[in-house]
Structures are given as C-alpha cells and as structure tokens.
Amino acid sequence: MLEYRAYEQIESYLKGDMAAEDKVAFEALLRTDARLAEQLREHKQLLQTLQGFGQRRNLRQQLNRFHSELESDTVAPTAAPAGWKVYWNRHAQTIAVAASVSLLSVFGALWSVQQLKAPVRQQTARYVELRREVERLKKTQTAIINGINDASKPAPRSAAFSGTGFAISADGFLVTSSHVVEGADSVLIENAAGHKYKVTEVYRDQIHDLSILKVSDPAFVSFGNLPYTFKTQESDLGERVYTLGYPREDIVFGEGSLSSSTGFEGDTTAYQISIPLNPGNSGGPLLDDKGNLIGVISGKQAGQEGASFAIKSAYLLQMISELPSEDTSSAAVLQRNNTLSGQSRPQQLKKLKDYVFVVKVYN
C-alpha cells in the first residue's frame, strides 16, 4: 500500500495540486529518497509520453483528414476539366502555330497556282489593244535634255498613252482607234515633220473601235491634199500591205501581207495581217501596194506571232458617212486621186509620213 500512497503523492505533485507544506515535505523527501526520485522521473516520463502519444494521435488524425480533403479536392477538379480543356491549355500555343502555318500554306498554294495559271490563260486567245503606255524613263530623259536646253521652261508633262492616227481629209479630220483616246482629257497630235496640233474627238464608233478627231487649233489651215485614197471593196488574201506608226518616239514602217480576211476569232469587220506590231501602232493606216488605204490597225493576238488585226476601210467609210451633218460638209470631201500608185515604197513613204501622226493622250 506504500507504493499506492507514493503514487498518489507523485500524481498530485505532478498535477501541482499538492498543498504547499506537503509539497515542501515531498521535495525534501525526494532529495533523500533516491528510489522515490527515480519513481517520480519514470512516472513523469510515462505520463508525458502517454499524453504526447495522445496528442500525436490526434494530430495524425487531423492530418489524415486534411489529406483526404486534399485528395477529394484534387481528384474532383482534375477529373472534371481533364480532357479537352487541359489539352487546350497545354497545347493552345502549338495549335495556334499549326493553324497559322496551315492557313498560310493553303493560301500560299492557292496564290501560286493562280500565278502559274496566269501565263497559261494568256496563251489562250487574248486580244491586245496596241495603245502604248509611254515609258517613263525615256520621257524623263528627254525632259532632262529639254531642261538643259531651256531651264526656264517647266518640263512638259509626259503623255500617259500614245497611239497613231492619220488624216482622212485635208481640212483637219483624222482617224485613230477609239481605245487610244479613251478616257482622254486632252489629245495632241504630232507628225514626223514636227507639226503639233491640239485635237478633239468628234465621233466615236465603239463597236468598230474607231474615233474621228478634228484639229481644234485655230492656227491650223490645211493638211494639204492626201496622197492616198480609201478602198471600198475588200482586199484579197495575200496582198502585200504596209503600215506606218509610232510604237516609239520615231515613225516606224512595217510590212507584211494580208494573211486572213477575218480578224480576231472570226471577226468579219477586220483583216488579219502579218505585220509585227507593237503598242503604239494602234490607229495607224494600213495601205496596199498601190497606196489605197485598206484598214486601220487595231490590235493583235497575245502570244501569237504575226497575228495582227486591222479594221477594214469599209467600216471607216461607213462611219465617215454617219458623221453629224455640220461636220460632213467638210469631212465628206475624200480624196479621189491617188498619188502613190506606181511609186516605189520609199517614195510612197516620203509622201505618206506627213499625214501619219502620233496621238498623245493626256489624262
């Protein structure tokens, strides 16, 4: 029973509810009784361990609870967005790059196919109107030369387009292709001799691509008698024909033969001729060996060698007869005498070239 009493003492001592005088006595006893002290130490350790064990067990339980919360927290939300959302978040950038690359390659392929097709399409019949877009380089060069010669004058504005035209009567009527003067603000003509006139378009036949111009310069008097006449009948296949025109700054002669009595895609209003033509030739006169005007140069077929076209003179004559009455009084006076017949080609050209003009179109 002594042990039990000692135990009770120890217990109350450790709990700290021992009365003060008892405590002093107990502590004095502890100092002398080594066995009691040992028992106290053991008891203390045991209780501490027991309590610590209890606390630890509670803590463990708490942590386990947290852990299961954690698992339910993480398992639930990861299960839900797993799939396309996670996939999207992870691969959004890659997808964006892939998408843009594929878009780029699709449109690039479409574009390059288009580019490859373009020349192919050109080879299928395409009619090219031979109005000339004046090369800026040459013009600026001449402008510079002009500037050196006469620095005080402002450099003349270069024409946007040019073509060829020729006189049809002595009193200032000319003809050219209507596509040459299309959209023109003002039109100037100039011949090989250097005569310059301002002209206006007085009549247009869009179907046959012909335009009649009239010199509006007050200083103008007359062209003089025309050396050529207009042929009313159709010319024969194989006839030798030639033209004068301004595909460049200077007048250019071109010769060939009448290779077909129909024009572009069976157009019966035009001839096919084997004269190599260039932009700027449009509106030029087409003459036969005897110096009869048989047509007006209008265009050529792109990608085809020696397939040029000229409107037949019959349609030109028809148009002249359709001119408004106030103009016909003078326009109807067509040349009856042909002064070119029987002359050599250079002689013919010498007479002709003053009646062939470069038509400069400003807009």
Binding site: H43, L50, F53
Partner: protein, 190 residues
C-alpha cells in the same frame, strides 16, 4: 491555389500557435504536392509520400507549439529539408541507397530536429504497442483520464465502478502495468 487568410508564412505560423485548424489545413495542402513530387521522383510511393510528409508537418507543428522554432527561411524550405532528411533515412533503412538525389529545392541541415523527432516517434511507437498489450478496459480508462483529461467522476460512472476510490485504484493498477510494459521495451536513447 485559392487565396486565403494565410498569405504569408508568419500568418500561417500565428494561426497554428492559436490552434487554428484551418491554418494547419492550409499549410498541409499547400506543400503536399512539392513533397509528393520529391518522394515520387526518388523511388517512393504515394503512401510513403503521405507518411513522410505528415511526419514533416508534425515536426514543424511541434516546433511551433514548443516555441523552439528559429526559422530563418521559408516554411517551404524547412518542410522540404525535414522531409528530405526523413526520406533519406527511410531509404537507407530499407537498404536502398540512392546515389543521386533528385533535388528540386534548396535545403537546410536539420539533423537535430529530425533526430529528436525520430526519438519521439520511437517512444510513441512503444507507447502504442504497450497500450495495445494492456488490453481493455485499462487502455480506455487511461486514455480517458490522461489523454482526454476526463473527470474521475465521469470515468467512475462510465466504467460502472461503485465509487471513485475504486476507480482510482483501478487506474493505479492499470498505470503500473503500463509502466512495466513500457519500460521493459523502452530504453532511453543512448
């Protein structure tokens, strides 16, 4: 991670000091992924990760409770260091030597803390075993009195003793047996 009250380490530690369960829960959830990653990438399992992590958290918790924590770094680093130490120990006990540890964080030397912890773990392990061997109703009686700190009166009624002296006597006997069981297996660390 959702925003919470415990934005800083200080706030978390303050919360734990004041027995705030949410602070501990927050801390626990915050760093588990890091430790889990460490253990898993060093030949451990999910369960081992959980075990080690909980021990690490316990070490930290008790240091705070005992006011013996002198923290010069982030909680994160401290936890990592403790768990790392514990895991390496565990690995070497299992006979698996890891030549190269896959480190993802910096760490501190925490030999002392982890050794103290291991000592305690050992004691508590023995205590658990001793309690098991003690059997009912002694075990429940002691737990109720010493751990749950229940009143002697309540215990007397609960276990159907005729009076509290009887209960006290019973408790004394139980404790003596526990003492014997405990000290036969437990030798204080040398």
């Amino acid at each position: 991670m959702k925003k919470s009250l415990y934005a800083t380490d200080e706030a978390v530690m303050e919360g734990i000091r004041h027995d705030d369960e949410r602070a501990l829960a927050y801390l626990y959830k915050l760093y588990y992924p890091m430790i889990s990653h460490f253990i898993l990438s060093n030949s451990g399992t999910e369960d081992e990760a959980k075990d080690i992590y909980q021990e690490g958290v316990i070490v930290f918790y008790e240091k705070i409770k005992g006011n013996t924590l002198d923290l010069h770094c982030q909680i994160k680093t401290y936890l990592y260091s403790v768990c790392r130490r514990l895991w390496l120990k565990r690995l070497s006990e299992k006979g698996r030597f890891v030549m190269k540890v896959d480190e993802s964080e910096e760490f501190l030397p925490v030999e002392e803390d982890s050794q103290h912890h291991e000592e305690q773990e050992k004691q508590f392990g023995i205590m658990g075993e001793s309690l098991e061997q003690l059997g009912e109703p002694c075990r429940s009686l002691l737990e109720d009195f010493y751990i749950k700190a229940q009143n002697m009166q309540v215990i007397t009624e609960k276990y159907g003793y005729t009076n509290s002296d009887n209960a006290k006597n019973q408790k004394y006997k139980c404790l003596q047996r526990l003492k014997k069981l405990f000290f036969t297996t437990y030798k204080p660390g040398v």
